[in-house]
């Protein structure tokens, strides 16, 4: 009986706080994505030959986002029936966009306007009894190009 109460409480806490964290995070992601829109991300390996930047430098950003109790439970259910695991999709989406935003903020600090050869790498972090800690890490990196200064 006590087990059940603990379980339901954790589920409710996970749902409440997890939802809060997610909506808050998405709000900040949307806001910053708008702010960083002028930095172009290009997944090409070679910049166009006529582009001669003043400086190029590696930039990177990463984020580790944790699952919550509710999501893990829902995903567990999904494992029985199969199909899309929506609760984890949003998790990965958040981690990826956050990593890209952090990379962009590094690029902006350098004064770059383009980032070439974007690579995204995802790693899952889990440890402890029955994978007591579950989280994903996304790393985004690329080469920032700082344009030649236009003499005004």
């Amino acid at each position: 009986m006590i087990d059940l109460i603990v379980f339901v409480t954790l589920l409710a806490l996970g749902y409440g706080f997890g939802r809060m964290a997610e909506t808050g995070h998405y709000r900040s992601i949307h806001r910053r994505e708008k702010a960083f829109r002028n930095i172009l991300l290009i997944a090409a390996r070679f910049p166009p030959p006529d582009l001669v930047p003043r400086k190029t430098q590696l930039v990177a950003g990463s984020a580790v986002i944790s699952v919550d109790y509710f999501k893990r439970f829902v995903a567990g259910l999904r494992n029985i029936f199969g199909g899309r695991v929506r609760s984890y999709e949003s998790l990965l989406d958040r981690a990826r966009r956050e990593a890209i935003l952090r990379m962009k903020s590094q690029a902006r600090a350098l004064g770059a306007d383009m980032v070439f050869n974007i690579k995204l790498e995802t790693a899952s972090i889990s440890k402890g009894r029955r994978n007591a800690i579950g989280a994903v890490e996304v790393l985004a990196y690329g080469t920032a190009c700082v344009p030649q200064k236009h003499e005004a």
Binding site: P53, Q57, S62, T143
Partner: protein, 106 residues
């Protein structure tokens, strides 16, 4: 030292290839951070401790790679890649590698 994950540097020629340079580090998280992470696993959200830890380790492996590049007399490392693998429970290896080259110019 110029570090880039492109295969060329726009506007500058590669004079000499010096081969692969690499750097790696294996890190484990400490108990305090794990405790926090355990809590966060109920509520969800970002694990800042882990983000920091992984960033620090990645910097470390990058700087080891650059050391190696300096030792062979390169002035740039191109086509840099990162890779992460978990070695044992709670420990992760962060690996950085790239091609050391000598570029023309300063």
């Amino acid at each position: 030292m110029l570090v880039s994950n492109l295969e060329i540097v726009p506007g500058r020629r590669v004079l000499k290839h010096l081969g692969l340079v690499q750097g790696s580090t294996v890190r484990a998280k400490h108990v305090g951070r794990d405790l926090m992470a355990g809590l966060k696993n109920i509520f969800g959200g970002e694990l800042r401790g882990y983000t920091e830890l992984l960033n620090e380790s990645r910097e470390e492996s990058l700087s080891r790679m650059l050391e190696e590049a300096r030792a062979v007399g390169a002035n740039a490392v191109l086509n840099v890649r990162f890779s992460t693998s978990s070695v044992a429970q709670g420990a992760a290896e962060l690996f950085a590698y790239g091609t050391a080259v000598v570029l023309e110019g300063e």
